[in-house]
Symmetry: C2
DNA sequence: TGCTACTTTGTAAGCGCTTACATTGAAAAT
DNA sequence: ATTTTCAATGTAAGCGCTTACAAAGTAGCA
């Protein structure tokens, strides 16, 4: 009783309950493989000792961690929050723990995080978007860690994905903008380098321009970081470049919120003087005023299905399927008809 | 060469480089304890094998994980985002990895997460606020895992904290509101049960009322969840209860944003008809219009200092000190003088 | 009663690392 | 030339768990 007390181990519990360590282990992991009386005795020993199993030891011995890793580009804004929340809830249901880290949109950081998560024994990984160095996929394959991509839908890519067609979704929105008579259109996008979602959304706008009989190459695109501030700056820049622009499509709601604020600061009315659209339909889209016309993404559905699919991949060692989700345009008040200037 | 290739281990590297496992381990963890030539040989073996150390094994052997855990109440909105970002950056600098999980403001969930993080070998923990079952602090002490509290400042509590005086900060803001002639004041707060920050902010308003010669008990407080929607609902409820209310103080910016939206939906002008204030000064406060008058919290400073302090506690096994940060009122446009109705 | 077929529990071999301690050999000191 | 000192490396004992396999006990059945 006088020895320095450190955290109790399985051994301590076993001794206290008068059974072997194997039995204690079974009580914890497969209770029905142990008879009621013994189990009770063990559990009470666990309680009085305040025993918590050592995770590292468990992972090592079992070569399973019941942990899924997710690497998202940013936590600074809520773009991935809701989807991740659903992902995590679904995982929790199935007995898995989620480990999240953010890469700040930096590929090197993402790569490092992937290695860290794998080294930590993650049973599977959730990644955002497909664009990344192929050797990362090689690595994952070698390590036999299944990975699933979300927020993107590209069939036959290196990893299965669950998401939506970014290009088509943005095209639909741009069609609508053009349908309202806008011809002098500009775009504020996130950096498209290494970001298939951003890249495809730009393409989507070009598609719509083409379909609408407009010159796709004439589209001015400012690429910037996904921050409110950047959206504001980009808007100012675009407007000084071409003051006659009547519609600005933004790569996501955060950029749109920034653009909107800047428009108001510059004394412009939205949508009377200029229309602004977003993408994602995060909470922010409804908070700003006028509320943003944007593309609604089924965040929770995406997160939930990604979890299901990934757990399947992990538990049954199957390849995992690629699923396409629907998006739709939600019309609010930041997009209006083009006014003849 | 034909055997099933699984992830390479330290042993494989050692064999390939023709040294002992101890040497390989030293190359990785204390490169200067190994002579240049050997190190090079080892490193190249590491490279060609694509070796990644097994984290669980390392934690087990070293009884250190270089991992810090943080449990925040929510990731759904950006309240903790910026502070956490700074926390993580500072940790990274010092060679630590951050593991984040969210408790959804549920004490049982928080407790479970704490156990999980400890079992995972976290070297230290960051917790939000002081209010929690004392037995959790006992547990942490028994497990010898240092913990630091942030977003709160309470000297001589069970854990050291780095934060601000929620009560005083809110009082200062309420003073200002009262100074503008408001007498029919209401408050929208987060649930105060188990949340010292919410509780103290309410007290702060009462203090100000008292100091201003008003009846502190007459303050109507609606407690709700920290969501935009809830803020909106609470606003509607408050206004139907007492339509003559001229100022509504909100427990944070998210609630304020909801209240603001609802006010506008109800056709009221802010701040002409009703004043609304926030707390935290997250990005959102500047995005809504009118921009919120709110209490600015030094998020990044708090996160950074918390990291420094916690790392000290972990590495030097010292108790850790409690630090108080300053907050200040940022006047924007949602608070105006009371109008005589 | 003797045998088979289970069910319940125990034994012990790792899992992949770190690190205290032992060993070696060469430079520095005498 | 001999001893001391120290830097570089190796040896091997765990860290706390899981699980294949073995052992023991219990029940069913002819």
């Amino acid at each position: 009783m006088s020895k320095l007390r450190s955290a109790p181990t399985l051994d301590d519990v076993a001794r206290k309950a008068g059974v072997s360590t194997a039995t204690v282990s079974r009580c914890l992991n497969a209770p029905d493989r142990v008879v009621e009386a013994t189990r009770k005795r063990v559990m009470s020993a666990v309680d009085t000792l305040g025993y918590t199993p050592n995770f590292a030891a468990r992972v090592m011995a079992a070569k399973r961690s019941f942990t899924i890793g997710a690497i998202i580009p940013t936590m600074e804004n809520a773009i991935f929050a809701r989807g991740l929340q659903a992902f995590q809830e679904e995982l929790h249901q199935r007995g898995y723990t989620l480990l999240v880290s953010s890469s700040a949109y930096r590929p090197e950081v993402e790569e490092e995080q992937i290695r860290t998560l794998v080294a930590r024994g993650a049973d599977g990984l959730l990644l955002i978007g497909h664009d990344r160095d192929p050797k990362i996929y090689d690595y994952l394959e070698r390590q036999k860690v299944p990975a699933m991509v979300a927020w993107s839908y590209i069939p036959n890519a290196r990893a299965p994905s669950i998401g939506f067609d970014n290009r088509q979704a943005m095209q639909a929105l741009a069609d609508r903008v053009i349908g309202l008579g806008h011809t002098r259109i500009a775009m504020i996008s996130g950096f498209s380098q290494g970001n298939d979602r951003a890249r495809l959304r730009i393409e989507g706008v070009r598609d719509a321009l083409r379909r609408g009989g407009l010159q796709p190459d004439a589209l001015t695109v400012v690429e910037t970081s996904y921050e409110v501030e950047s959206g504001a700056d980009a808007f100012a820049q675009l407007m000084s470049q071409n003051p006659r622009t009547t519609a600005i499509l933004c790569g996501n709601d955060v950029l749109a919120a920034g653009a909107l604020r800047q428009a108001q600061n510059m004394g412009m009315r939205v949508p009377e003087n200029v229309s602004i659209t977003g993408f994602d339909d995060i909470e922010l889209a409804q908070i700003v005023s006028p509320a943003l016309t944007t593309v609604h993404v089924p965040h929770r559905e995406m997160g939930g299905k990604a979890a299901l699919e990934l757990v399947e991949m992990v538990e049954k060692s199957i390849p995992g399927s690629t699923i396409r989700l629907q998006t739709d345009i939600v019309e609010r008040h930041s997009l209006g008809p083009a006014n003849k200037s």
